[in-house]
């Protein structure tokens, strides 16, 4: 039988999590498990305002883990994340789904986490947990790892960030693949390129081969062709009801190529 404890602070919640409880965010994933009788017996939640705070300092925006997709869409300073939040679920889901929960949503979910991974965001952990790069957090997210309190997101330079989600059902459907590209070119050459995929592995992950061929060059047709050729290199995309792993591997380059072309044209 599921018991929910409500505590005052994220530090207390983190302590209870380390005893084997699960954190209840928006509940869009966890309540499915509660309804199916497969949820952990102990859940914890907190109304600590830090989870709902959005703030900007210099070039970093900090978004509380309890901020919903709908709230992201209502924040003008988070405009670079609007196309991402809009791609998550339905209006009702967006009113519930949190940023923190998205980091732990299983395949094919986690579109928001894909964007955060490409942006080079860090997770700030509650209590004395410090901050962790999202790459690390996602890699071992299946192990109990404490409570994410907020994500710290470097604001991308203008026109240097793009997100695209491919789904079969519109306007709402889960990902065949989602792609996020950060491609800053400070002195005319690409530097600090980060490319992330969703639905191409067990968690959102980076396309290391694509990053390698783009880094240091210009965003032009030749670079695009090189990127497309290695789009799925080193990846083993999953098969599910929407698409086979083979299909995902075949179309990854097509969608990546289109996204890069739009970036190049500044569309």
């Amino acid at each position: 039988m599921t018991r929910v404890e409500t505590v005052a602070t994220t530090a207390e919640a983190a302590r209870i999590l380390s005893d084997g409880a699960a954190y209840l965010g928006g509940g869009t994933m966890l309540m499915r498990a509660v309804n199916a009788g497969t949820a952990p017996p102990r859940l914890v939640r907190t109304a600590d305002p830090v989870l709902r705070a959005v703030s900007a300092r210099g070039d970093t925006v900090t978004v509380g883990a309890g901020v919903t997709m709908a709230r992201i869409l209502a924040e003008p300073q988070l405009d670079f994340l609007h196309p991402v939040a809009r791609a998550v679920g339905s209006p009702q889901i967006r009113n519930m789904a949190t940023v923190g929960g998205n980091l732990f949503a299983p395949h094919p979910y986690g579109d928001f986490a894909v964007a955060l991974l490409a942006l080079g965001a860090r997770a700030r952990m509650a209590g004395a947990g410090g901050t962790r790069p999202l790459d690390d957090l996602l890699r071992d997210r299946d192990r109990p790892g404490g409570l994410v309190e907020a994500v710290e997101i470097p604001r991308p330079p203008a026109r240097a960030f793009r997100f695209h989600k491919v789904s079969r059902v519109k306007p709402r459907g889960v990902s065949v693949i989602s792609i996020a590209v950060l491609a800053p070119s400070p002195g005319g050459k690409l530097a600090g390129v980060r490319v992330a995929y969703g639905a191409m592995g067990p968690t959102p992950l980076r396309a290391a081969a694509v990053e390698r061929v783009l880094e240091g060059g210009r965003l032009d047709q030749a670079a695009r062709e090189r990127a497309v050729a290695v789009a799925a290199e080193g990846l083993d995309p999953p098969t599910d009801a929407l698409a086979s792993g083979w299909y995902r591997g075949e179309v990854a380059g097509v969608h990546l190529g289109r996204l890069l072309a739009r970036m190049e044209e500044g569309r």
């Binding site: 929910v4 309540m31 499915r32 509660v34 309804n35 199916a36 009702q92 306007p171």
Partner: protein, 158 residues
């Protein structure tokens, strides 16, 4: 089993009832409050038949833990009309044959009412977006979209 007392505003009325641990809001509204208008379709967030508003925002009652609505303002399709007087949206659904089996209708009405309250003059695209979380297996959606659009530009109801 320990029961959890929950007090809330349900369609404008103060109510109190006991929730079970782990009980979802859909079950609580139907069995605890006796309001059968929100429907159980999937219990997984996919169909929207259980759509209600909590503090003015559309939510899925099947994915909401009942005890978390303590002190909240919860509204369902049953709160739309007043006795025999229908909400203009309900009348529009009748006029446009927007319900066949009717199972999706309460969820559709709640999503559509929330849209019109926020945006009294939506485009067809905005209507489609607003009901994109509500599945209908009967109508093919066009009659529903037409019903909602027929109210576009009219003053929102009280």
């Amino acid at each position: 089993m320990t029961k959890i007392p929950v007090t809330l505003t349900h369609n404008g009325a103060e109510r109190a009832a006991f929730a079970d641990p782990g009980q979802n809001l859909l079950d609580f509204i139907r069995r605890g409050l006796g309001d059968l208008s929100p429907k159980y379709g999937c219990g997984q967030g996919s169909c929207g038949a259980c759509t209600v508003t909590i503090d003015g925002e559309t939510r899925l009652a099947c994915l909401t833990l009942a005890e978390t609505v303590e002190g909240c303002d919860v509204r369902t399709a049953a709160g739309l009309g007043q006795g025999a007087t229908l909400d203009p949206l309900q009348q529009a659904f009748m006029d446009h044959f927007a319900a066949q089996c009717g199972y999706c209708t309460p969820g559709m009405l709640v999503s559509a009412r929330a849209l019109l309250d926020r945006n009294p003059n939506p485009t067809r695209e905005e209507v489609v977006e607003a009901i994109s979380g509500n599945l209908c297996r009967c109508t093919g959606y066009d009659p529903i979209i037409d019903a909602i659009l027929s109210l576009a530009g009219r003053k929102a109801s009280a």
